[in-house]
């Protein structure tokens, strides 16, 4: 056994928490190594001093005060006793586990709700046709860059037919030149500049 390993085990030896074989090997090492022996001795003395410390006495009236204070505590409702009671009387490891499970659950709920919101939002967005009809052919919703949602509805844009009621041009048989979509809207979205 080397000193490094021995130094980790010395406290356990002092507390009687080492199993037989390991304790034996450690004792052998302590016999031979003066540094570890000094380590052992001083740690043992430290423990001895600590276990010899006096029991601290509370002030004389404390017992009655404590009883009055504790027994006058209001009764909690059952749900609170179940939740808060569990939290306050359980050990730290289980507290951590519960907190981690709760965090994971809330994260999952959050992720699902965000995903749901995104889906609803994208289906609620106006498609290319609706957009172009609403805005007139001038406002092209495909300005050349892929804006994410539009590519789902990309068809070859159809030129809007001239409608006589608009009466913009004056000549009834002539198509309105402004209704022809710009050149880049004919290209596939992926190759748009």
């Amino acid at each position: 056994m080397n000193c490094r390993r021995a130094s980790h085990l010395i406290s356990a030896l002092i507390d009687g928490e080492l199993c037989g074989a390991e304790a034996l090997r450690l004792r052998e090492h302590i016999e031979q190594c003066p540094v570890c022996r000094a380590d052992y001795e001083t740690l043992r003395e430290t423990k001895q001093l600590l276990s010899g410390m006096a029991v601290v006495e509370p002030r004389p009236g404390f017992e009655q005060d404590l009883l009055n204070y504790v027994l006058s505590a209001p009764c909690e409702p059952a749900w609170k006793r179940a939740i808060v009671g569990w939290w306050q009387t359980t050990d730290r490891r289980n507290r951590m586990r519960a907190a981690a499970a709760f965090a994971a659950l809330s994260l999952a709920v959050l992720a699902l709700s965000v995903r749901g919101t995104l889906q609803t939002a994208s289906s609620a967005l106006p498609s290319y046709e609706r957009l172009s009809m609403a805005n007139g052919a001038w406002a092209s919703p495909l300005p050349g860059r892929d804006v994410g949602f539009v590519h789902e509805t990309v068809d070859r844009p159809q030129p809007v037919r001239y409608q006589p009621s608009q009466g913009l041009c004056g000549a009834d048989s002539m198509p309105d030149i402004r209704t022809i979509p710009p050149w880049h809207t004919y290209l596939p979205v992926s190759s748009a500049p």
């Binding site: 001083t42 423990k47 010899g52 006096a54 006495e57 404590l66 009764c75």
Partner: protein
């Protein structure tokens, strides 16, 4: 005619007579740990009160087949954890330190191991109480708690692991490191017998 009524388990909740007994029996134990952890009487009283209030409120969570001390130890440990976050870090200088030392002088031999019951050792131990308490307070909280449970309360590693909610390995390393820090401080202040003889490394 006597009618035997079996008590439902929830009936001992808020049953002050039963809990009364628990408080009387265990408040010294709780107070001792609380004082060793906090180092002053005001905090020790607060911690003890908080621990017993929690124990009383949630007494129906206590399993009577297990020792009450272990349950109380765990509640006290939680009070330490919860308290430290809430309380600003203030070092209180205790004014009644000397009163304690005087009033406990008669009790000292009850807690000492058999080999050190002679008056000289007791005197020495009483004189050492304050430096030891100061050294304890200088430790990080988890180390201090482990050292108090092991060396002052005499719990096994397994019990400490259950109280502190950690593994045996963690208990082992906390105790070892905590005790080493204590040892170094006591050596530096020349309180260890072998240190005084010049036997330290």
């Amino acid at each position: 005619m006597k009618i035997a009524v079996s008590q439902p388990r929830t009936s001992h909740w808020c049953d002050s007579d039963i809990f009364d007994e628990y408080v009387r029996r265990y408040y010294r134990l709780a107070y001792n740990i609380a004082y060793r952890m906090s180092g002053n009487h005001a905090d020790a009283e607060d911690i003890t009160q908080e621990a017993f209030i929690r124990a009383y409120r949630f007494f129906d969570r206590y399993d009577p087949s297990l020792p009450f001390e272990n349950w109380l130890y765990r509640i006290i440990a939680n009070v330490f954890i919860d308290d430290v976050r809430r309380r600003p870090k203030v070092k209180l200088q205790s004014l009644d330190q000397t009163v304690t030392a005087r009033s406990t002088a008669g009790e000292v031999h009850l807690e000492l191991p058999d080999d050190s019951t002679n008056p000289e050792t007791m005197m020495m131990q009483a004189a050492l109480d304050e430096p030891l308490q100061r050294a304890l307070e200088s430790l990080p909280r988890d180390f201090r708690h482990a050292v108090i449970l092991a060396d002052i309360e005499g719990l096994s590693y397994e019990e400490i692991a259950a109280v502190m909610g950690c593994s045996l390995g963690t208990v082992r390393s906390r105790l070892h490191r905590g005790r080493k820090l204590m040892r170094n401080r006591l050596l530096a202040e020349n309180y260890l017998p072998s240190g005084r003889l010049g036997g330290e490394k």
